[in-house]
Structures are given as C-alpha cells and as structure tokens.
Subunit: 454 residues, 2 copies
Amino acid sequence: MKSKKIVMNETEMPNRWYNLAADLPFELQPPLHPGTLQPIGPDDLSPLFPMELILQEVSRERFIPIPDEVMDILSLWRPTPLVRAEKFEKAIGTRCRIYFKNESVSPPGSHKPNTAVAQAYYNHREGIRTITTETGAGQWGSALSFACNFFGIDCKVFMVRVSYESKPYRKSMINLWGADITASPSNETESGRKILVQDPGSPGSLGIAISEAVELAAKDEKTKYSLGSVLNHVLLHQTVIGEEAIRQMRIAEDYPDVVIGCVGGGSNFAGLAFPFIREKLGGRDIKFVAAEPAACPTLTRGSFNYDFGDTARLTPLLPMFSLGHDFMPAKIHAGGLRYHGMSPLVSALVKNRMILPKAYDQETCFESALLFARSEGIIPAPESSHAIRATIDEALQADAKGQEKVILFNLSGHGHFDMSAYDAFLNSDLMSSELNENDLKRNLASLEELPTIA
Amino acid sequence: MKSKKIVMNETEMPNRWYNLAADLPFELQPPLHPGTLQPIGPDDLSPLFPMELILQEVSRERFIPIPDEVMDILSLWRPTPLVRAEKFEKAIGTRCRIYFKNESVSPPGSHKPNTAVAQAYYNHREGIRTITTETGAGQWGSALSFACNFFGIDCKVFMVRVSYESKPYRKSMINLWGADITASPSNETESGRKILVQDPGSPGSLGIAISEAVELAAKDEKTKYSLGSVLNHVLLHQTVIGEEAIRQMRIAEDYPDVVIGCVGGGSNFAGLAFPFIREKLGGRDIKFVAAEPAACPTLTRGSFNYDFGDTARLTPLLPMFSLGHDFMPAKIHAGGLRYHGMSPLVSALVKNRMILPKAYDQETCFESALLFARSEGIIPAPESSHAIRATIDEALQADAKGQEKVILFNLSGHGHFDMSAYDAFLNSDLMSSELNENDLKRNLASLEELPTIA
C-alpha cells in the first residue's frame, strides 16, 4: 500500500520562513501614511507593532529563522499532514492526482495560529503585556487567544457583535484559552462609544472592531495590536505551510502542476503558494489559483489602487486590490473571506499575472465541501470550500483536455464551528449571497480619489 | 530536538485486531437469553448482527486480520499520533513522563469510527441495506453515519430527544454524512408510540432509543442493528489504538508504567489497554486505571451481576458491573459515560483486580481539561477529561513517592461539540452531578432478582 498521508516528524520541520519579497521580479510599492500620504517608515508603525515584526514587514532577507520558542509551540501540531485525496478523486471521477495540505489539525482548527504564535512571541520578547485584536467569525480571535496563553500575554479580542451573538462557541473557545472578549461596538473605547451613540443597536463590523483594537493599543506603551492576515509579516509566518509541502511532495515523489488556496486577506493562500512561487521563479512550471467568493470579489472585480485597510480610515493606505473600504459584502458563511482588500503581495502577483484569481458562489462551494466531507471524511471550513471548488474545476478542465495534472490545495481549516452553515445548505436555506452592484460601483468610484499605484 | 509526536505512516499500521479473550487467565461467563435465562448462541443474535460480527463476539482467536477495505478507510486518519505531553507535565509540575494517544483526530472527532467502519463493512459484505442505532450525545451516531456513508448503507439513528434538541451540531454532522436521524421516542416504532401515548413530552433515554433501533432491525431481514461499545467485537475493533501505541512507545524508546482510559461502556479504555494487558500477562509490570464519573460509578459502586443492557429489558443479560438497568444518572456533560452497565470483558478484569477503577466528579475533571487545553492546546471531550484527571492523580502520587513513572492515557475525543459545557464550567454554572443514593440503592437491590455470576 502506498501512503495516502505524508506525515513528517517535527524534527524534520523547516526551521525558517521564506520571504518572497527577496525574490520578486518587480518593485513593491510602500504603504502610505493615512494623514500625509507619504511612504511610512518603521517608526510610524511602532505604536502598534513590536519592532521585530516591523522589521520583518519591510525585510528583503530571503530566509528568516524561526525562533526555537515558536518552533516548540508550532510542533504541537506541525508538520501538518499532506494527504493524497484518492477518495475525493474518485468522487469527482478525475484522472488528476489531488493532494491537500491539512491545516485544520491545529488546536484552534485553522492555519491562523502559525502567525499568532510568532506574533505573540515577538511581543512577549519586547515586554508587551497585552495584545488587542479584532475578529469576525472568530477563527483569528481564537488563534491569538491560544497563542497568547503560552506566553502569559493578556489578549483582548473585539468580536463583531453580530458574530458574538450568533457564533457562541468560537467565543467559548476564546474564553477557554484565557482571552478577554468584548462585543464590538463596545463602551470600552471612544470609537465604540461614538458608534453606540449614533446607533445603540449596531451589529458592528470588522472596520469598527479594528478601530477599537487599534485605539486601545495606541493608548498604552505595553499594549500592541495584532492582525491575522494582509500584512507581509503575517504571510511570512504562514510560509511554513508551503515549505513543509515542498518536502512532503518530494517524499510522495510527485510535484504539483497547480497550487490552490482560498483568499480573504491572502494569508493561507500565500502560506502554501509563496515557497512554490520561488520554485516557479527558479524555472518550475506551476499554475497558481486564488479562489475568492463571488459575493466579495476583490481580485476579480476590484481595483488595483491604494486603499485603507479599515472602514474608519485609521490604517495606512496599502497598495492592493480593493472593492473600496466602505464595501459591504453579503453575509456569506465564509466570514473569513469577507474583506474588501487583499494582501499587497498577493495583489501585486495577481497584477503581474503570476496568480489566476477565480470567484465562486457560495452554493457551489458548499456542494464541493459536501462531496469532500463524504469522500475524505473531513468537514471543511466554508472558507476552505472555495479552494475545494477551484480544485474540482481545475481537475475537470484537465480531464477535458486529456491531461493528468497534479493539483495541490490548502485545506485552511475545519468546519466544526460552522455546522449551522451546513444545516442551512442541507435545508436549502442559505442566506442570499448576492453582490450589491450599486454598492460596488459607488465604492470603486470612491477609490479614484485615493492615490494610484505607480 | 527530540520528537514530541510519534507519527507513523499508515503503511506501518498494525493490520490485525487483538482479541484479549484468547489470553484471559479466567473464564468469561456467557450472555443469557432475556426470556429463557439460558446461554445464548450465535443464532439468537443473527436477527440483529451480521454473522461475521457474531463470530468475532465469541471468537477465541488471538489475532483477527483487519480487512483491506477497513484499513483503507481507517488510514484516512490512522495511525493517530502518540504525543509526549511535555507542556502538560510542566503545568502539573510532575517529574513523570506523560504520553497520550490522540484519538480526537478522526473526522467524527473520537475513537468511535474505529469500530463503526468495521461494523459497516461486515454488514455491507452480508448484503445489509440499513443499519439502525441509538445515540445519546451524538458521538456514536456521527461515527456510524460517517462509516455507513463509505459503503452506501442507509443509516438510521435514534437520538435521545433531549440531546436532539440541545446538541444541534452533532445532529448536523450526522445529516452531513447522509444518515437519517429521528428524535426518540418517535412515532416510527411500536416502542416509541407506546412511550408517547403515556408521556407525549418524554425527553427520551438511551434505553428507549435502543428499543426503537432494535425493533426496526428485528423487523427486516436487510436491516441490522449496531452498538458503539460494551460488546466484545466492538472492543476488539478498538485494539488498533493500543497496537499502534505499543509500536509508538517503542519508537519513543519508553514504556508505560500506568495505562489510563475513561470508561462508559468500556471501548476506548479497552482499545488502548487490552494490547498492554497482553504484555502484562507476558510479564510486564503495568498498572491499569479506568476512570469513571462519580455520578455514574458503575465499576466503583456497582454490583458484579447479570443485568440487561437496556432499560426495556429487551437485550440479553450480560455478566458485568451494573448500577441496575433502571438507574438514572445525573445529566453530566460527559454524556458518553452515562451508562448503567459496563463491557463484560472490562468488568471481569476489574473483578479479577487487573484494572483499578476510580471515580471522579465533574468539576475536578473540567479543571483538569482546562489545564490540558491551556498547556497542550487540544480541547478534550468531557468524557476524556476523566482520563486526564486520573493521569494527574497518578503523576502526583508518583511524585509524592519520589518515583518517575511513565503514564499513558487515551485522549478519546475532542470537545468541539461540547463548548456549552465548557461555558457552564467557566461560568461556574455546571448542572448538579449529584448521585441519587436512593435510586442507586433501589437499583442495586433489584439486581438481586437476576441471575448471579457463577
């Protein structure tokens, strides 16, 4: 019997992160200060992030060593398995060979702790006592709570109120690892109180929650802020996924023709793809597909422009694909993909045609997730189902051309805390995921007032 | 760095089950027919189970090969990791070395699919179209639904109504893998209708759900019944856990002095312990601890006597420890441990002083689970928390004696679908788990009317 699962021991784990910025065949534009519109430097970011993370954000070093203290915690669940999905191949009826990297095996259930642990560590090393953050559906909040727990750092999570009320079990998980969690908007910050005065019943938004978390961090020297995607250092920490996958594909004596991930802010996609992009730049022929929701089509219908990371215009302007910082996507179940912007690195690669973006509607993604859950057993997170849908697409296209492709996708997380979404799907009761074309048009037009990318 | 996780490839998986019945240094008493009180033979069981499982139930073969078709599905998640719990050791402050076998990594989240897959396979091979079963909290129902899905067998789950209503997400999981699920008591069976006439608002019980499942199976030749614990063949299928652990301890160059599991019907405990009991019979010095809830203290306060497996007195009489088939344990969160009886094999080993039973109250188990979740990251099922509590106990006892013991316990499942229980614990709002002493006294007395064990 040939192995289905390529499992490595943690002693074989890659011990450095890969920094794609060192190898890019094009220039990356700098973030701009929201007030001056001038490029920002490390000092501008220091009220929010510890210096080591700021240096990683702008680093051009090709490899950055993973500290032993971080390795020690990652090795609780890493290396994650690389799995040949034979039963899924049969269910599709394809001749392609499909592999997936199973990031759902981490204790919080997704790839998020890969960066949460690193961020908590660097904050700890610089004497930080409290980290603030926002969370939508709760994946990121639970990962950061998990990570802070190991370093004795207080973690303060602002959770979008509508999710706080409708997803009680992610909240329980955040509590269990010791973090303090507050429904946002809250009375604990100026930003929150301002919103509550205008609208006492506000359901909250990621933009508001970011403002609350940033406000608290900026006020106290021993408090910093943490983000779960988008930024370069966050993507850097996720490259352990792809570094492991390269070694595991070698053990499997196979190599991917296509590498696929879902994209919200870009971190799970980048984590798997960037090390393979290095190999592509070295001469390998690999196709990269970034799968996003049709309800929030940042890469397929957004503008490549400078835009704010949050609704309240507090963050630096980032050079990225964006739907406009006021864009309000439908309440799809893949909450982790409901973001108006996109990692600048992923955006630049899409702009330079090194990554093919594709958008899929919610219904077809759930159908694919069900096929996967009934063949491979694992229940995917609604976010990950977009990567699964893209995988089926690529396989069927290859079959139609008589090609036997090797496809590798990232299973970014499990759906144990999303069962109500599966219920809705099985009962044909999914909420509408229709794109508000007028809102999109208005938002894209508003980007024209912001600086364009040189 | 020495490995924390002993991961094996599935090509190294043990390919046979270990049958402890072949090696027992004492006689096992036979089950008795509920009507005649005479020992039952294979034919008496054939309306309910396929013949191959009946033969396994009475087999004295030492090893039974695992069919390729079963190995193929088990290998989706097996071998499961054996983990050295260094951070947990530090959290306890013990000098003992603690290992756990992580059965929570299966898609349904527990050890249950180890037997569910085997049972579905043998039913499929004998042309069975439908399998009926009962489920309390839903762990077993989801495992059987998962297993039947692979063999195209219809699965019909009767779920205790109170759990059906309060644990919606286990129900969703059962639906997702394609099983049909009905709240019990239901209108679909005589037994269910009879209860509903007497009590239209009945919350149901495991005993009633068993009656409904058995009734449907007995009525139709192509329908059989399946049980998730207690019986010999179920425990047999779980021995893959211990067989893997023996190989993995060898890789770790260590050996357990103490082997621990929680017990409800006995299957996860037996799965880990039985292969080590073989080694004990071969001369190894190992202590075995079976951890049960103080609210349902079958082994520590029950009688070793013949008793029925269900409340409705439909099943054969089994020679086992029992609290009496009418005993109603408090509604503790470890629903999988709320069973009045115990596997006859485990019972006989306890009676022969080869296993030490211990009872723990719910509060202390949740405290231990929290310590584990905050050190090793994984959120344990409330059932598994009993094994964790016993592990802490053994470690502290060894420390007090100046001994450095090696302790191995079975992490039978994760708590992703039990977060409301953790909420209750964190908010000091656990339901009372007090033992009803009068109910216990009355039930133990009622056992005196049943045949005693020779």
